[in-house]
């Protein structure tokens, strides 16, 4: 995003073989947000405030991945502006619970977008992920899907969710994962199985801030 301060991102380097991976161009200001979110001494109100800022940035960037067509409009001065128009037929899907933290960010950008939900529980012993609940817009098969899940450490949860979407007829290339933090391992896990989908994240780092959901919703 920034023309200056573009920084080498270790995680990105590691995963750049994956065409489906897009990392927000890391500049110091995003790094500051990440630092605050990772700092264990950050207060909850600060945490939520800065998480929402980062979510907004990730969502705005995810929307860049959606399809659009050219569109010329006439400005109040009578001149023509060569603009573009997003195609309709998108929807959001949040993975309960932490994915719901990103819903507001999406709503702030797309006021009337449809939002589906998936609940994936992982077994405490086997870490096996299991879909418990899924509710989507009826015609989801024809839509582009913004899948929202902020922290991805193993990739199992997301893989399950993507699988459910595919079962509902969504095309693999129409799935975009909006994510804040993910590990290289998770990127591999997901993209090795679903190479045509896209992952959009702010950082790829070996250690994921797994406290995100608890701190954001205040259940720690």
């Amino acid at each position: 995003m920034g023309s200056q301060d573009i920084e080498f991102n270790g995680g990105y380097e590691y995963c750049k073989g994956y065409k489906g991976l897009h990392v927000l161009q890391s500049h110091h200001q995003i790094r500051e947000l990440q630092t605050i979110l990772r700092d264990k001494n950050t207060s909850r109100s600060d945490f939520k405030f800065y998480a929402d800022r980062l979510i907004r940035l990730v969502i705005e960037d995810s929307l860049n991945q959606l399809p659009f067509t050219d569109c010329n409009v006439v400005t109040p001065t009578g001149a023509t502006y060569d603009g573009l128009k997003y195609k309709s037929g998108n929807c959001g899907v949040s993975i309960v619970r932490s994915g719901e933290s990103m819903e507001q960010g999406l709503r702030d950008c797309c006021r009337s977008i449809r939002i589906g939900k998936i609940l994936v529980e992982s077994d405490a012993d086997t870490h096996e992920a299991k879909v418990v609940y899924a509710r989507f817009p009826e015609d989801i098969a024809n839509r582009h899907v913004l899948l929202m899940y902020p922290i991805m450490s193993t990739g199992n949860t997301v893989s399950k969710a993507v699988n459910v979407l595919l079962e509902h007829g969504v095309k693999e290339e129409c799935i975009i994962l909006s994510n804040l933090f993910c590990t290289p391992q998770a990127v591999q896990t997901v993209l090795d199985v679903y190479p045509k989908m896209k992952i959009l994240t702010s950082e790829v780092h070996p250690v994921a801030p797994n406290h995100f959901g608890q701190k954001y919703f205040g259940t720690d």
Partner: protein
């Protein structure tokens, strides 16, 4: 009226306080003096419709009825306030025929953003000679909306206890050069001449010390400096572009003082005369009268001398024309003649599909206001986030709940404040508050004068200590850059570092970008789109129309 005549004679006199409320009593004793006063007040200041009546009478009513020698001094304090107010708060264009209350401060710098040196007029003359009357008549006739009137009264020295007692017995000589703090005076005048903001002391004549509060004044197109010893210090004389000596007959001056002191303060004739002959008169002869040799123009009879004042006004106007400018036109012309590559300080958001999509919505003339507001807010958020990324960051390592250290960053400074250029810039305030907790927001109102097409400064509220801050200066659109340049100039005049200013807007015209970058090479310019042209009405093409009107719903014919 009283306030006006108040300013007529400065402090030189413990005695020369001036309130002509009770003229009638003495009019028989000093018919001549009374006539003069009446004429002065009647001509310009007594008419209720006169513009000056409003701004020139801010005196608290409480000071009006006191009669002790102490309150007399207090009176003089209010003179200070009055005179200073003229420069700062008055944005009133006064012409003999009509009053325009709306005029703001026009550009006081040229198209390169450099300040044009103001024209400084010094007015000198004995106590009660009518210096302030002359100053005010000049201001009226000039028709220049931004004039600063600085009075020497503000620079009396702080008295020690002994001197304070002497003053109480009317034995302290306020007419002597030693009574003034020339160092402070010179520094203040110098800063004003540079167009900077100054804090002028408010002298309290009861305690004979400076009050804690000060009056804020700005440099202006014309600065008038008046006082009994304005030509006394060679450094001051050097700074004056025009030196006027008001030469009023000693009899008239004495008569005025007698009338004021006796009729209004209940002092006895003997005491007034003793002070006059003991201090006022000798000081005049020793220090003031010889200053006449420095003068360019000597005005006999003071403010009633219309011919002299017209001559002075003509000369000043000629001088102002030589310095003045048609700023906005010049900016456009300057761009046309030298197209340069876009400077490094211009930071354009990467044109992603998102940005273009948002622009498509807000540029479309058929977009309903509801959507217009929604999509501009999204765009504003993006540009503000981008702006923050341009700040300086330092390394910071934090402990994570996962037990590993994380090498992160944090912003180098917490001193960030937002300043919006009203009205359209206000639309961006919310976004700044959304991304920076507890940020301070200043406001600057700059409006285009529909007659001249020039921007004018009307209103200014900035955080204290703004000089220590990084300033995010916000305006929704920048066409010629005239308003932005004025706003930047204001910030610089408040001692903000040029490199600490970021001008942020949604849409700029190429020429505006060039003008700002040319005028202020260290100011960072942030925008989401740069349009190539400006039309004849200084609108950006293809543009988004009048952003403020569309956002606030005040378009004509809607």
């Amino acid at each position: 009226m009283t306030a006006k005549i108040n300013t007529l004679d400065p402090p030189s006199s413990a005695s020369s306080d001036s309130d002509i409320e009770i003229q009638t009593e003495l009019s028989e004793v000093f018919p001549d003096a009374d006539e003069i006063d009446e004429e002065k007040s009647g001509d310009f200041y007594q008419t209720p419709a006169s513009p000056i009546t409003v701004p020139y009478c801010p005196r608290p009513a409480s000071t009006g009825s006191q009669k002790s020698p102490r309150s007399r001094r207090q009176r003089t304090t209010s003179i200070n306030q009055t005179t200073q107010n003229k420069g700062v708060t008055e944005s009133i264009l006064r012409t003999p025929q009509r009053t325009i209350y709306t005029a703001g401060r026009p550009p006081w710098y040229n198209c390169e953003g450099q300040k044009v040196e103001p024209f400084v007029i010094g007015i000198c003359g004995g106590s009660a000679s009518g210096k302030t009357t002359v100053a005010q008549k000049i201001i009226e006739s000039l028709g220049v909306p931004w004039v600063t009137l600085l009075s020497m009264d503000s620079f009396y020295k702080v008295l020690n206890e002994k001197q304070h007692d002497m003053a109480g017995r009317n034995e302290y000589n306020f007419d002597h050069p030693d009574a003034f703090d020339f160092d402070l005076l010179i520094a203040t005048l110098q800063r004003l001449k540079e167009g900077r903001k100054v804090e002028v002391p408010v002298y309290n004549f009861v305690t004979h010390s400076r009050e804690a509060r000060t009056k804020t004044m700005y440099g202006a197109n014309v600065i008038i400096f008046e006082g009994i010893l304005t030509f006394h210090h060679p450094k001051v004389v050097e700074m004056l572009d025009m030196k006027i000596f008001v030469d009023t007959d000693a009899d008239v001056r004495l008569a005025r003082r007698l009338k004021r002191d006796i009729s209004q303060r209940g002092r006895d004739l003997e005491g007034v005369l003793k002070q006059y002959t003991g201090m006022v008169q000798p000081s005049f002869n020793h220090y003031i009268a010889p200053l006449m040799s420095h003068a360019d123009i000597i005005v006999p009879r003071g403010g009633e001398n219309e011919v002299a004042i017209q001559l002075i006004v003509q000369h000043v106007q000629t001088q102002l024309q030589l310095r003045g400018l048609k700023l906005r036109e010049e900016l456009v012309a300057a761009y046309a003649t030298n197209k340069q590559p876009r400077p490094d300080t211009v930071k354009l958001l990467p044109t992603t599909p998102q940005i273009r999509g948002l622009h498509t919505f807000i540029r479309n003339k058929d977009t309903p206001r509801d959507e217009f507001i929604f999509y501009s807010k999204r765009l504003i958020r993006l540009v503000i986030e981008y702006t923050l990324s341009l700040m300086t960051f330092v390394d910071k390592t934090v402990e994570t709940p996962q037990g590993v250290l994380y090498n992160g960053k944090r912003m180098a400074t917490n001193n960030i404040c937002g300043v919006s250029i009203l009205r359209a810039g206000e639309t961006m305030e919310q976004a700044v508050c959304d991304v920076c907790k507890d940020i301070r927001i200043g406001k600057i109102l700059i409006q285009t004068n529909l007659q001249t097409g020039e921007p004018e400064l009307y209103y200014l509220r900035l955080p204290k200590d703004i000089k220590d801050f990084k300033v995010i200066l916000m305006d929704a659109t920048v066409a010629t850059g005239a308003a932005a340049i004025m706003a930047i100039r204001v910030l610089l005049d408040h001692d903000v570092l040029e490199s600490n200013i970021l001008i942020v807007s949604l849409l700029m015209a190429e020429s505006g970008v060039q003008s700002i970058a040319y005028a202020f090479p260290k100011v960072t310019i942030v925008t989401t789109a740069i349009d190539p042209e400006i039309n004849g009405r200084f609108h950006v093409m293809p543009g988004i129309g009048n952003f403020g009107d569309r956002y606030f719903g005040t378009e004509p014919n809607c």
